[in-house]
């Protein structure tokens, strides 16, 4: 715990794996970080990703992958500690600060991220982004949600439906 950068715990250099994005960019990361992905963890446990091979990720482009890995590298030490039962409050606060800043990004990046997290089965990341998007929705009327998320203006028909709903479910509206 005191040496969070020591990777998988082996003496000497941590084991590295190579991930290849859909646009053929190669990323070399510690196996411990990549293993936050349940999908990758299986491949890595099977001995994949080492040497010159690399694990192809045809569904994740390089911009998204680099962001995903930023998250994994930051969260790997805590994950290696089994959810960090002995992490200090300072460590936890630092991770929280990182998370808050991490999702402070363009919406399109958020959606690419959540799809990648879903694909790679990185539960913490999926949940972090989902919560961020939910925060953008809460406290808003349907019309405000549409504007926030960049939907086109509703058709007259849709508008009528929204009005009817507001009348019927008045309790859900301010």
């Amino acid at each position: 715990m005191a040496a969070p950068e020591s990777g998988d715990g082996n003496n000497g250099a941590a084991r590295m794996v190579t991930l290849i994005s859909s646009d053929n960019t190669r990323f070399e990361v510690e196996a411990a970080a990549a293993s936050l992905s349940q999908t990758l963890q299986l491949t890595i446990l099977d001995g994949g990703g080492g040497g010159g091979d690399g694990i192809p990720l045809p569904n994740v482009d390089s911009a998204t992958l680099s962001k995903v890995l930023e998250y994994c590298i930051k969260h790997a030490p805590a994950a290696a500690n089994g959810g960090a039962p002995n992490a200090t409050a300072v460590d936890r606060a630092e991770l929280e600060r990182f998370d808050n800043e991490f999702v402070n990004i363009d919406q399109s990046v958020l959606y690419s991220l959540i799809m990648a997290a879903h694909n790679l089965e990185i539960e913490g990341l999926q949940s972090l982004v989902a919560k961020k998007v939910a925060d953008m929705i809460k406290g808003k009327s349907p019309m405000e949600i549409r504007r926030t998320l960049g939907f086109p203006d509703p058709t007259p028909e849709e508008q009528a439906e929204m009005n009817a709903h507001m009348l019927e479910y008045g309790w859900a509206y301010e």
Partner: protein, 255 residues
Amino acid sequence: MDRGGDPTLPPPAKSPKLSDTTTIAGGDPTLLPPAEFPKLSDTTAIESDTTTINSLGEDLLLAIFLHLHSLATLTRAAFTCRAWRRAVASSPAFRRRFRELHRAPLLGLVAEPHRDALPCFAPAPRRDRDVLAAIRGGDFSLTTLLDPDDWAGDAPLSWRIHDCKDGYLVLLNWDTGLLATVNPLTLQFTEYIEMPFNRNTGSSKPGCPISLDVHLIFSDEEPMSFRLVWLFHKDSEVQVAVFTSEQEIGSFTHG
């Protein structure tokens, strides 16, 4: 799930048009659409490279909705567009999970301070916007029972609270032999039921029916419809009358 475009490009100022994909559901706007509509991802595959919230599949959209903090928020979100409404409508598993994560908040307490007045409502002392909106949007004074044009329009105000369950109040009015089920949030669903026995024979005479109990039975999935089961005792038999929220469906005896 990459859709083959280049998501590294900056997003255009406006998201692509959804209008062609969001005019599918017709009919009564207050009804949830049937579940057999195509999946969100099929109907919103749009001519653009930008990743929008509608690029996500229904499973991810619902994963986001699970993080909404109240039913009111989910209700507003679901009516943002038809594809979202469809996503919520077509997944009972999601709605079950959402209910598990978001227990219904206490809105307040009902009391009966006077014998011949309607029950009184005291709001819960919470400063929650959604709870407040619900209280303000509902008829917790139960004025529906005063409506002169309604079935109980001329009934004396001797309504007694019998039960309170899943947002419904069960009120009994022995002076008129009526039972009322009232949901203060959806007044159009106030129902009146005539007591399923002759209550004028006087409760002290032998052989007259004695009401034992009334139960409301709900399904989580259809909170707007319920069954009411009335147990009563007559001539050494226990009788059961079952009402749906629309009408009595059957009455049978049990020796």
